[in-house]
Amino acid sequence: MDSTLNYQFLAKYKWPVSAFILTLILIFLDRFQVVSPYIMFVLMVGLCNVILTLSLNLITGITGQFSLGHAGFMAVGAYISAYLTKVVFHLKPGAGFFSGTVLFILSLLIGALVAAVIAYFLGLIILRLTGDYLCIATLGFNQIVVVVLNNMDFIGGPRGFYGIPKLSNLWTLLFLAWISVVFISRYIHSSRGRNCEAILGDEIAAESLGIDSLKVKLHALVIGCFFAALAGGMLVHLIQLAHPTQYTFIKSIEILLMVVVGGMGSIVGSVIAGIGLTVLPEILRFSQDLRLILYPLLLIVFISRDPLKYLQRRFSLWRTRAGGE
């Protein structure tokens, strides 16, 4: 009987438990330097990519709104949080809990909030467009952000914004990544998320059921962009510089690739693709050209053949959209 109880406990809390174990393993590896800082760095970039993928998945995979402007929102979060930590708060790594971590997270949140506000007003205007037109409009927004960044000399302009304190460590990254995953997956598995699915399925039918499609899309966009900006902020405090060229629509396509490979609308897929597609290029370092070709090939194959369908069918949790908590 005891074993059944344990089993039930595990079944109910499999996600928190596995995440907890994973976290412990990662922190152990980090603390005792079992793996090189390089691998840790790659994993941390992977964590940021997980959040980016998840947040775009909410917009594109779950709600069906095709955005090519995700990197633009990432840039907003990155630059604002970096400006706050570097110029306003003068944070230094290892400056204690309050003056370090709390202010750092505060800066991240401010950046993300600004991005969310921008997303709100942009969404009010452009979410009336559908499909390809929305894609172009978001792409246009992305390029406008890049032009604006290039023209702002107080944050470096085309020189880039340097000397950002290295505040992202494994702890904060894991903490924020975990919060993002929980937030987005729980959002998806609520009435809000179902409304998003309805919009993806058939917008007119959804409207006829009293679902305000603009509002639902707006919510998804705002939340998605909030987390994109959060991830942008975390990434920028990891690599310690922000540069306009990092945030062109090419980056948006890269995030989209992760969404597609992980599976549209799949949370577990986003986590796997976010980390996997960060690690893969590092493994492929020995052959630069091969990697450049492999990436688009992956995109094409995954979109047309869906090779992970088998896996996704086996691991029913992979396709979380139809799954459930």
């Binding site: 595990l10 079944a11 499999k14 996600w15 596995s18 174990i21 994973l22 393993i25 079992v34 793996v35 090189s36 800082p37 390089y38 691998i39 760095f41 790659v42 994993l43 970039v45 890049v146 032009v147 290039n150 023209n151 302009g157 085309p158 020189r159 880039g160 340097y162 000397g163 290295k166 990434l235 690599i239 310690q240 510089l241 540069h243 306009p244 060229t245 990092q246 577990v268 796997i272 980390i275 996997g276 690690v279 290029p281 590092e282 493994i283 370092r285 630069q288 050209d289 450049l292 086996r314 691991f315 029913s316 949790l317 992979w318």
Partner: protein, 377 residues
């Protein structure tokens, strides 16, 4: 249970990651890392840079290596992207355990890499010209003069040698190199008594500059300064010529390339880190050896990479041991090193303040050496 399977999947993939990253030590060679943009839009620079570095390493190895060991060069690609550059640096440091690093070239990546190597305590010689890379960094130095210097040199040259009163400036808005050189040029030109009548910009990857050039033409400047890389400069010069701009074209070291369009740039002046006609023995030796090995003319990235490798090798030699800290100290004390560009002595920032700038003039399809500007103290 499905959760268990997913968990297993995670565990296995993590294990694969770590297995892929297993380190191995080997003590019979000295490992030096080289980060360059071997792919991406700046890859020609990256290839020249790598060629230069490889030439220096090969020469050192032929002469018995350093500290009795051969040098092994590990090339990493940054793709012209700072994040990739940062992870390349971390890989070289953490995984390959290199003694020192050479590169990267573009200043954006230079900035990303320099803070990482400073934290990790790995001596690094960059080949980017952005002044902001080296200050306050003990482990970071560079093998060439900075953008500040060439902006001043060209500004003064236009006033003093070309007797220019007015100038027009065009630069790539998305290129920090072009922008910072142009800004210093504008400042110097105005400080020396000239007037900059118009400043135009263009977005990166633009091919049509006629709109900006038509404006410049209408202002009739004495000199027209555009600090773009050679490939943009070619197009700009060509279109400026077609439009009939009569000003003297002036540029910066980004022009220095065998690919420069000499016909369109006839009569133009630019500055570089060396001249192929320089009679110095070290320069001649480098140019000859480079031609012999690669069957191509060296460009400035080749010579900067070559000299960076010389600085690192010299540093290891004078440190006398395979210790990153000691090598960094030795490189920082580099004094009068006979390098291909000139004698290198580093200042407190780690910048060579002794290297001259060569002014070159394009004439009848040839690039001629005009004069050298010694550093301004």
């Amino acid at each position: 249970m499905k959760g268990k399977r997913v968990f297993m999947f995670f565990a296995v993939s993590l294990m694969i990651i770590f297995a892929a990253g297993a380190t191995w030590a080997s003590n019979d060679v000295i490992k030096i890392g080289n980060i360059a943009c071997l792919t991406g839009p700046l890859s020609t620079y990256g290839e020249s840079h790598r060629n230069g570095v490889e030439l220096a390493v090969e020469q050192a190895n032929m002469n018995g290596g350093v500290l009795g060991k051969q040098i092994r060069l590990l090339n990493e690609d940054d793709q012209g992207d700072p994040v990739t550059g940062a992870s390349a640096a971390l890989k070289l440091i953490g995984q390959d355990n290199v003694l020192a690093i050479i590169g990267p070239i573009p200043s954006t990546i230079g900035m990303a890499v320099s803070s990482i190597v400073e934290d990790a305590g790995v001596p690094t010689v960059v080949t980017g010209t952005n002044p902001a890379i080296t200050p306050d960094k003990h482990f970071v130095s560079r093998s060439c003069w900075t953008d500040d210097f060439q902006g001043v040199v060209m500004g003064r040259f236009c006033i003093n040698e070309l007797s220019a009163k007015t100038a027009a400036v065009l630069y790539d808005l998305g290129n920090d190199y072009a922008k910072s050189v142009a800004e210093v040029f504008i400042k110097t030109f105005e400080a020396e008594g000239g007037t900059v009548i118009t400043v135009q910009t263009h977005p990166s990857q633009a091919v049509d500059f006629r709109a900006q050039l038509s404006i410049i033409k209408s202002k009739k400047p004495d000199v027209f300064f555009f600090s773009d890389f050679y490939n943009d400069a070619n197009l700009i010069a060509r279109q400026a010529k077609d439009l009939g701009i009569e000003a003297v074209f002036v540029g910066s070291d980004g022009w220095d390339s065998p690919e420069l369009d000499l016909a369109s740039l006839d009569g133009a002046y630019y500055c570089s880190h060396f001249s192929k006609e320089d009679p110095r023995t070290e320069t001649r030796f480098f140019v000859d050896e480079y031609k012999k090995k690669y069957n191509a003319e060296p460009d400035l990235l080749a010579i900067m990479g070559y000299d960076a490798a010389l600085m690192v090798i010299d540093g290891i030699r004078s440190a006398g041991k395979e210790d990153r800290e000691a090598v960094a100290d030795a490189i920082a004390k580099t004094n009068g090193l006979k390098a291909a560009q000139g004698d290198i002595t580093l200042d407190e920032n780690g910048d060579p303040t002794t290297l001259p700038a060569a002014i070159l003039v394009v004439k009848d399809g040839k690039i001629n050496y005009m004069k050298s500007y010694q550093p301004i103290q």
